[in-house]
Symmetry: C2
Subunit: 233 residues, 2 copies
């Protein structure tokens, strides 16, 4: 089996993301604490996000709008406007947060890029993802960048046909079973899960442990050897 | 000269967009009328949008956040929360507005697609632009779709290298001198301006009237004959 192309997820695979969302959640629950307990607030925010997903898609701007909407609904409009301003500021800060590659990412990508075509495949706000990639300093290692509205099997078929030699000769690696692994396996790719300590509720799913083209790695540092191993077989 | 590829802008070229933004502006100024006169409000909203552009990029979600921010700033937080809810609702309605091709678009694209590779090139929210294309029923006429964060000469070079035979053999057509025409000409493409009655202040610019590869057309219905004419020369 020959692997020519390696797809990599971005958020929580190459750099922190969910941690930043959790910190903003904390800020949000603190702001609304006079109106509502944390559990109720989190549940309502999750509902609002889920309801808005088909309209807003993924990313910080939609998340900010969903926080404002949740604050309005939960307080029946009685929320202080200072809270709305704080939410707007929190969203803007998320968009300007410095981006630093997770441990081992630089070395793993440098090694992979010597033998394989690297493609970044990520959801989220178009401009923000481009800015994060630029800020990370990793941009030059990628032959292509695909910012997509949804990660399903068709997405992986299309991306690896366009930028590689088809899904059968591609590995997809990321931290989400639901977005990075399962649809990539369905498309015919190899799939590597690189867990991140936190998973967004929307992304939770069970790993396909017995799938012949699947592996769960301890860290991105193990990815180059695994990919080389497929090709060597 | 052989033309192989025709790039088309989407908003206000294939379907109405600025009209919808103007209607939402009107709704916004009505909502804030108790606090502020229309001219001041419009000026402040334009400032906020411009300031946020590098952070939010183009599209309805960023516009909604900028409306909320402007309402907060102008009233020094004294705005009623019912107004914030109305702004959120206005943003959501923009995202679900039905999409209908402008007059002549169906026929022009059908004719162009017989001879040339069509590529949709647009700014805005990723998911929303995909949804509008799907709703328009025009999706099958395009060989490729590129939703980009900025339209500069590099964008056109990259897109027409990837999806065509380079910028020299490509026409770019759209309603914005600043985004669709000038950078496309700079990249080496041919450029066709198809004016729309309204232009967003940010997009205003003077047409390069004497440029040898530029034309201003009365309507998209004139585009196929103009492109054929280049090839025929």
């Amino acid at each position: 089996m020959t692997i020519t192309t390696v797809g990599l997820d971005a958020d929580d695979t190459l750099w922190h993301n969910e941690t930043l969302f959790r910190l903003t959640h904390r800020r949000f629950t603190d702001l609304l604490a006079p109106h509502c307990d944390e559990a109720t607030l989190e549940a309502r925010l999750a509902e609002t996000e889920k309801r808005n997903l088909r309209l807003y898609g993924y990313g910080v701007k939609g998340f900010t709008l969903s926080m404002i909407e949740t604050a309005m609904e939960l307080t029946d409009g009685a929320v202080e406007t200072s809270v709305i301003r704080e939410i707007l500021a929190a969203g803007r800060e998320m968009l300007t947060e410095p981006v630093e590659p997770l441990p081992g990412v630089d070395q793993a990508l440098a090694r992979l890029s010597e033998r394989y075509r690297l493609v970044l495949i990520t959801k989220g706000d178009l401009l923000h993802q481009e800015q994060k990639l630029a800020a990370s300093g990793l941009g030059d290692l990628f032959a292509a960048v695909e910012i997509v509205s949804e990660k399903d099997a068709d997405t992986y078929r299309r991306v690896f046909a366009r930028h590689g030699t088809g899904p059968e000769q591609a590995v997809m690696a990321g931290n989400s079973v639901r977005s990075d692994v399962v649809p990539a396996l369905d498309a015919g790719c190899w799939g590597a899960l690189i867990p991140y300590p936190l998973v967004w509720a929307h992304e939770a799913a069970s790993a396909p442990k017995d799938h012949p083209r699947y592996v769960e790695l301890g860290s991105i540092s193990d990815l180059p050897a695994w990919v080389d191993g497929i090709t060597g077989q």
